[in-house]
Symmetry: C2
Subunit: 152 residues, 2 copies
DNA sequence: AATCAATAGGTGTATATACATATAAAATAA
DNA sequence: TTATTTTATATGTATATACACCTATTGATT
């Protein structure tokens, strides 16, 4: 869908400003597709993201700060997301021996299992929505990173 | 910044999956830049978006549903955003005469004024971050809309 | 060693998202 | 006209974002 129809406006001050709104809208669209699928697994987008990060280092543990550094949204409140995962017994907290300020997070077998089934479902859905070629995806990645060139 | 460095991983299952994460991360990055500027005006990103929508039709009024249809994030809870704008006297609510279910929203002079100064500030900041050409912006818009081709 | 600064994680608050439900009004059907 | 359905908005709840602040611990400075 054209952005004009998604936002019911065609008042864009420039092509670059339109691209900004297009990125924000596409991000919302992607998130809402993913969240809808994750509902069946009683997971939010952010809880899924934390599980995915933990699995990436499994069987190693990660402390809260290291998880936060890998989050898509850097201002995510990781302790609170861990709270909810811990209640569902998908992760475990332990105090680090080497630095007692750190809390080490481990993904449980149950967490690994739910991550596997939800990822499998998400992959299927994303595959069915695949509309761009690999070359186009590369170009998109190039343009987004060029856009963020001023990032500190 | 490369996505690999932003997320501290290089485990992407495909170029398309990387593009998905890249869009989500870029959207967060854009929002955080904007929100930081809007803090000076005591506005959130979403409150700013509602004011911008109202100004687009000014001096006409818009009902809540028409604002919702124009929001970037379609699941935004518009009545509650209006609540906060109303407390700050940046908008006014009136019941529609032709359909008493509808609430008509009007942007106030104060709202127009704060929108003008905040937009001016945002434009300056965005201009200073401009890193892509118009052609590249066009291409980005094309790719994002192609990505959303399956949108219902 | 004692003091001070920095760091890690947790917690409090306001706002937003996502979604369910409630209420009133309008549109439609019987 | 009355009953039913649909629509518009508001409200309730759980989770998340954004950011400030607190506490415990560690590291650095004197």
């Amino acid at each position: 869908m054209k952005l004009e129809n998604a936002l019911l406006t065609n008042k864009f001050s420039s092509e670059a400003q339109k691209a900004t709104l297009n990125i924000l809208y596409t991000a919302w669209w992607l998130k809402s597709i993913t969240s809808k699928e994750l509902k069946d697994f009683d997971l939010t987008h952010e809880q899924y993201n934390v599980l995915r990060i933990l699995k990436g280092k499994y069987p190693d543990q990660l402390c809260v700060k290291d998880i936060a550094r890998r989050m898509i949204e850097k201002s995510s409140n990781v302790p609170r997301i861990i709270d909810r995962l811990e209640i569902k017994k998908l992760v475990k907290r332990t105090v680090s021996e080497s630095d007692k300020r750190e809390t080490l997070i481990t993904i449980t077998q149950s967490g690994l299992s739910i991550l596997e089934s939800s990822t499998s479902k998400l992959n299927k859905v994303h595959a069915s929505l695949q509309t761009i070629t690999q070359k186009e995806a590369e170009q998109l990645n190039y343009l987004l990173e060029k856009l963020r060139a001023t990032e500190v």
